[in-house]
């Protein structure tokens, strides 16, 4: 304000002579002029306001794209999203272009796989798991790492470690152990038995005895040593054994006698040497020691501090799955179907390794079967002969792909393409949301119109009714419908409709209260218009903008509720499919996908991430679109709840 005044005083007063003034329109008559700009209607005005906010326009574009994809992808995709293909399960995401940057490249990170000790490469010192589980050529060698973790299994892959002998608490006082292998002693060669004990506890009140069997003497077992401390002990068998035999063959028997439950002995090594003392005749450490057999129920013998070598690496799962595979028994029916499907364009030719064998032959490239290695002996059943083939198949061709496909989001537990599946799920969710919303709008508008138009007692009663319905928690509605109708699409629709119309009806009611006392309504009524005409022709169109925006904002809420109920397992689920207007809707929704992914969160996070991101983006953009639409239609509400 002060600035303007200041500017005004700065103006110089200038004298303008009278002749310089003239009437602009002296000879003209002034009529109403036509607007030079075009008239702007309600909707156009709203659209202009809508387009002003760029963020909302982008959100709308994204939302529309997602809806479009949800319609287009399920129709056009050649990848499978129905049926089950267990070979293809859990393939990681793989996207063209991105794969070159080591991101979503279709490689699976495999961890904690026990190394097959025979595969350890002497140059690098690294080993890979056994080829039963992983095809070696598909392991990315650059990413291979070996590390060891402790183990306590009595298995040969568990290396080193100690074996602890102790008494079972609450049992007797004698723990007995027998070696699994028998020791052979040639007493002429001065056999020496070495016993390495790493650790003992409670040595003061235990007795540790070692025996071997001598078939010549009357006694069954002969005591050869009594040890009560740790360290390496050397036993000269010939010296301690008072016998006339020359050759002895016996298992070693170890006895721990104690009353102390906490006493134990940790064995590190038991070895037998002859008098040359160079190479042990027999050496038992780690695993071999753990094979010693406890006798009686009071003996505890456990492996400790062993090590197992583990490998972690990246694995080309796609190559493995779509590569050539040997199938031991392939049903003859399926085989015949394949031959029929591919017609006569492929000829089988004799197998190069064994051209004379008419049970073996090869197929040219491009045929699902690479070679047939033989066929089983036929089994006769009900007069028909059944047999299977032993063959090598090209899995990519067999599953209908010319080359290894790209699964953008990977595949799920049933081997279905998650990318296609996500859009199918979104389509289901959107469809249910739209259908439910249309029903809700119909009920709500009708209910609200009657309430608002007639008012008075009608209004009061109907308001109380809708209040009761609206006050029932959704869990209660859910439980009643689930109990009566079971889980499924019908239940889901009922739950969503049950209290979904109330919002629309109260908005409609307000709009009717606003417009029903207007003069034009009165005018129309005076002219004899019926109630229905007043409602649908004169009042409703005025409130339609608000009603539309409210119902569009209700769509994300319905999707929200639908996916939550499906996630809990009460909505649509697997195996539920329904056909509406010729479109087959399979029983997946985002809620179902996320519920399935719950158990695979650790190993396969992509199963959770992709559906979650898709539904989040849809919800966010849908809400932004709805809010923008409301602001555009009703500028006075702008930012009302932002």
């Amino acid at each position: 304000m002060s600035k303007e005044i200041k500017e005004n005083t700065d103006l110089k007063k200038e004298h303008i002579s009278k002749e310089k003034f003239k009437f602009v329109q002296k000879d003209e008559k002034i009529f109403d002029k036509k607007f030079e700009t075009k008239p702007v209607g309600y909707f156009k005005d709203a659209m202009t306001r809508f387009a002003k906010n760029k963020t909302n326009v982008y959100a709308t574009i994204i939302m529309m794209t997602m809806i479009l994809l949800a319609i287009v992808v399920p129709i056009t995709t050649d990848k499978r999203y129905t049926g089950e293909e267990f070979q293809l399960r859990f393939l990681p995401p793989r996207v063209p272009i991105l794969e070159n940057f080591g991101f979503m490249d279709g490689l699976t990170r495999v961890e904690d796989q026990r190394v097959d000790l025979d595969t350890i490469d002497p140059d690098t010192g690294l080993g890979v798991p056994s080829s039963e589980n992983f095809v070696h050529e598909y392991i990315v060698m650059d990413s291979l790492e070996n590390y060891s973790i402790t183990c306590t299994d009595s298995q040969d892959y568990c290396l080193g470690g100690l074996n602890r002998l102790q008494i079972d608490s609450g049992g007797g006082d004698t723990a007995i152990l027998n070696s699994f292998e028998t020791f052979s002693f040639n007493l002429t060669e001065n056999p020496m038995l070495y016993i390495d004990i790493a650790d003992v506890a409670g040595a003061s009140d235990f007795e540790l005895n070692f025996y071997i069997e001598d078939s010549l003497t009357s006694e069954e077992y002969n005591l050869i040593a009594n040890i009560d401390d740790e360290g390496e002990h050397e036993i000269d068998i010939a010296d301690v054994l008072n016998t006339s035999s020359v050759f002895l063959s016996s298992s070693l028997r170890i006895e721990l006698i104690t009353t102390n439950d906490n006493a134990y002995v940790d064995f590190e090594r038991i070895a037998l040497y002859d008098d040359t003392k160079e190479e042990p005749l027999k050496e038992h450490t780690g695993y071999e020691l753990s094979t010693y057999v406890p006798e009686g129920g009071d003996t505890l013998f456990n492996r400790r501090e062993g090590e197992v070598i583990m490998a972690s690496f990246k694995y080309q799962k796609y190559d493995e799955v779509f590569g050539q595979k040997e199938i031991l028994s392939y049903s003859a029916n399926d085989y015949n179907d394949l031959i029929e499907e591919y017609g006569d364009s492929y000829e089988k030719s004799p197998h190069p390794d064994d051209p004379d064998n008419d049970e073996m032959w090869v197929f040219p490239e491009g045929f699902p079967i690479v070679e047939v290695l033989g066929q089983s002996d036929p089994i006769e059943y009900n007069g028909e002969q059944f047999f299977t083939y032993h063959l090598i198949v090209d899995y990519a061709v067999l599953t209908g792909y010319d080359e290894i496909p790209y699964f953008f989001f990977g595949t799920d537990a049933q081997g279905r393409d998650l990318f296609a599946l996500s859009w199918v799920a979104l389509r289901t969710s959107l469809f249910i949301a739209f259908a439910v919303n249309i029903i809700n709008i119909s009920i709500g508008v009708l209910y609200g119109a009657i309430e608002g138009y007639y008012g008075g007692k009608t209004d009061l009663l109907m308001e109380r009714f809708s209040e009761i319905i609206g006050r029932i928690p959704w869990l209660v509605t859910l439980s009643i419908f689930v109990a009566l109708l079971g889980s499924g699409i019908t239940t889901l629709m009922f739950i969503l409709i049950f209290s979904g119309w109330i919002g629309i009806s109260s908005i409609t009611r307000t709009q009717f209260y606003r417009y029903k006392r207007r003069e034009y309504v009165l005018a129309s009524r005076t002219l004899g218009a019926k109630d229905s005409r007043l409602i649908f022709r004169h009042i409703l169109p005025n409130g339609i903008g608000t009603i539309i925006t409210t119902s569009i904002l209700a769509i994300p809420l319905v999707i929200f509720a639908e996916s939550t109920i499906s996630y809990l397992g009460f909505g649509i689920g697997h195996g539920v499919s329904f056909n509406i207007l010729g479109v087959e809707f399979s029983g997946v929704s985002i809620g179902v996908l996320l519920a399935d992914a719950r158990t695979h969160m650790f190993a396969r996070p992509y199963l959770t991430v992709f559906p979650a991101v898709i539904i989040s983006i849809l919800m966010i953009t849908f809400n932004m679109f709805g809010n923008a639409l409301r602001d555009a239609f009703n500028p006075s509400l702008r930012g009302a709840d932002e």
């Binding site: 209040e467 006050r471 209660v476 439980s479 719950r598 809010n627």
Partner: protein, 354 residues
């Protein structure tokens, strides 16, 4: 005011009674699933008889027994019999209207909600529900304490710095958090913090786990519960405060010489808080029913989890008890909100004469 309170309270009980009655009658129409083992069944049916929901009779006629066994005589579909050699002990339900009256009678005279069928066979429904309430309430209250201060602060910052970068960032995050369904949010939280980073447990620990782990285990469910509520609280606070900030009495406050800070704290804040209190009460109810999903995902043994379990295992007695629990909570929240409106703003008193 007293009249208004009484009217509202009576109305609440009318709704509660209606909901429980409708639920009882409809759940009785559903097929019945008695406890799985024979011994539990005997106890269960005896209990049904002593509650007056079923009758017991002995069938001693050999021909009739044969006919019943061969299913030539069809008993009531919910009837059940125990074969005791030379006689059958048959339990048959009384008609549903009588069951309903008996149920109401039991409820008002003994507070008897019946016994659980499959979740904890033959344990009083009231006991089962009561034992689950503490953990659910604890989580929800922690969430409440967690999100209210943060929501207020963010809302106030956004309103005071309206249309600045901070406001835009806050408003956009609010839009994101308000849109993402809680189970999606919880799944993502669990995935990143639980499984991938390994900072928190991936399952709610059992009773005997104590100490630090127990404390941290609350973190993920509380986060999952409060994101949505946090976002809406921020949104409402911002809207209310920015409306008050442009009001005329604030201009007056400024004109009489208060600084902006003084005006905001003394006049704007107090006035904008008023409509927020009911909002918070409602959001607590929303939190409570939202915790069904969170409890299911995180394996928390609370009322929400058991609701889902009871529904899946067709334990309808328990479902009825939980229905009453959730209805009571939500209706009393409504009552509180109505009353608080009435106290705060006399113009809204719905019972007042027009």
């Amino acid at each position: 005011m007293i009249r208004y309170t009484i009217v509202r309270t009576v109305w609440i009980f009318v709704i509660l009674f209606t909901v429980v009655s409708i639920s009882f009658s409809l759940l009785r129409l559903a097929p019945e699933f008695p406890p799985p083992t024979q011994e539990e069944r005997e106890i269960y049916y005896e209990r049904q008889v002593s509650d007056g929901l079923m009758t017991r009779r002995l069938e001693k006629d050999a021909e009739t027994i044969e006919a019943i066994k061969a299913e030539e005589i069809t008993l009531h579909e919910k009837a059940f019999y125990f074969d005791e050699g030379d006689q059958l002990r048959i339990y048959e339900p009384v008609p549903i209207p009588r069951q309903y009256l008996t149920f109401i009678n039991n409820l008002f005279t003994e507070f008897n909600w019946g016994v659980s069928q499959s979740i904890q066979p033959n344990v009083e429904v009231f006991e089962v529900v009561r034992s689950r309430i503490p953990v659910t309430m604890m989580l929800n209250l922690i969430a409440l304490v967690f999100y209210i201060p943060i929501g207020f602060t963010l809302g106030i910052i956004a309103a005071l710095k309206k249309d600045s970068v901070i406001d835009n960032v806050i408003s956009f995050s609010v839009m994101i958090f308000i849109s993402i369904p809680s189970f999606v949010m919880m799944s993502l939280l669990l995935l990143f913090f639980g499984y991938q980073l390994g900072w928190f447990l991936t399952q709610y620990p059992s009773q005997d786990v104590e100490g630090f782990v127990r404390v941290t285990s609350v973190f993920l469910p509380v986060l999952g519960l409060s994101f949505g509520a946090l976002a809406s609280l921020t949104r409402v606070t911002r809207a209310e405060l920015s409306e008050v900030l442009t009001s005329e009495f604030l201009l007056l406050a400024r004109t009489k010489g208060l600084t902006r800070t003084q005006a905001v704290i003394k006049h704007a804040m107090r006035n904008s808080m008023v409509p927020l209190v009911p909002g918070i009460i409602f959001s607590f109810v929303g939190l409570l029913s939202g915790s069904v999903v969170i409890e299911t995902i995180y394996g928390i043994p609370g009322t929400g989890r058991i609701y889902v379990d009871a529904l899946q295992e067709d334990d309808y007695n328990l479902v009825l008890g939980l229905t009453a629990f959730y209805t009571i909570i939500s209706l009393f929240a409504v009552l509180l909100v109505d009353l608080s409106y009435g106290i705060v703003d006399p113009r809204i008193r719905m019972g007042a004469k027009k």
